[in-house]
Amino acid sequence: MRQSIIEILTELRPEFDFQQDVDFIEAGMLDSFDVVMLVTALDEKFGISIDGMDVLPENFSSIEQIENLLTKNGVK
């Protein structure tokens, strides 16, 4: 799961290193439109539909947060 997330993030914003330990939102690596595109890509990749109520910047601030969100949505 982790590797797939990193691949999707890197394709979205190739100019950033998403393996570094920073808050992606605070660091300006992802804006609200990136989050929309990220959700669309994660939904497609994992065959899920992330709940609209969870489309909040804080759920996409790190790889761990994204992993938690996917787990919550049934991804193993």
């Binding site: 979205l12 804006d31 609200s32 439109f33 929309v36 595109m37 959700v39 669309t40 539909s49 709940d51 609209g52 109520m53 489309v55 909040l56 910047p57």
Partner: protein, 356 residues
Amino acid sequence: MSLKFTFRNKRISGILTVLPKREIPFEDEMAHYNFPPAKSLKLKLAMGYNKHRIVEAGTNVSDLCVYGINYLLDEGLLEKDDISALVLVTQSPEHFLPPTSNIIQGKLGLHTDVLCMDINQGCAGFIIGLLQAYMLLEQESIKKVLLLNADVLSQKISKRDRNSNPLAGDAATVTVVERSLEATVIQSVLNMDGKRAYVLQIPAGGFKLPSGPETAEMKEDENGNFRSLDNLVMKGDEVFNFAQKEVPPMIEDLLEISGKKAGDIDFYFFHQPNKFMLHKLADKIGVPREKMPANIVENFGNASGATIPVAVSFNLGADALASTYEVCFAGFGVGLTWAAIQQELGKLKFNQIIYY
């Protein structure tokens, strides 16, 4: 908890959509945005941006409405003497006074015993207007109500605002509402929250902050969008979260009142902010995405309160002349307002798009 309405023996008998002939592809405006083109193209896919319909400078709400109503009169789809009321829902009135609905009445040469009413509502404007039409039809003296949902708000949107400009659209719709000989039951729920009124606004141009050289000054926001105080500004994240939080329970409430299950509804015609938001709402409510059309922004743009009837005209077209559907209409946005109606829709006299 919602305000609830029930109406009987009323129906929509026809829907006409009037769209501007001028169509602008998304790619033609990408250069205005402070955004790499590759990212703009990805955004286009995710949000369903493609092209939008924008009026020529100088075209106003009354031009679109009068053109549409005259088309219906000329084609024999409507009789002038049957019109008892013009209910115009718009956020782009031609003046503070007189009401634009009165201007439309005058241009059409309607009799003086026609009620003209402007309602200032946006994304939920079709629901609010329909409620008003159904309430008027409780009066014996009212024969047919013309519900006009019309906006030319593109003029108030900065071309350098990628939050709002790609999804903007202009349109007018004429919905004829009348009594039904059949025992129809129409259910509705409504909520408003003025504490969140400034989530969507045009800050200047009213009495509180009149437009002038200072309000016209373009400024850059934290996301690289340029707009002035004369332009529409939308807190996109808050609007999205508002819709995801409030709309699904409202629909659940409405279906319970209507005695229907989600699967009993043939079509969910919702306001059309963007494809992503509508897909998430369909998933949350638990209905197949094909039952909730999300193709209006990509084809025409979001014309505020007109998007629901535009979606009906575009997606059902002539099929709605012969068939009858169980539908759920829902509008959500400016106000903030969120409201919905469950009713039958079909056997329409007309349901089509014409171009101005």
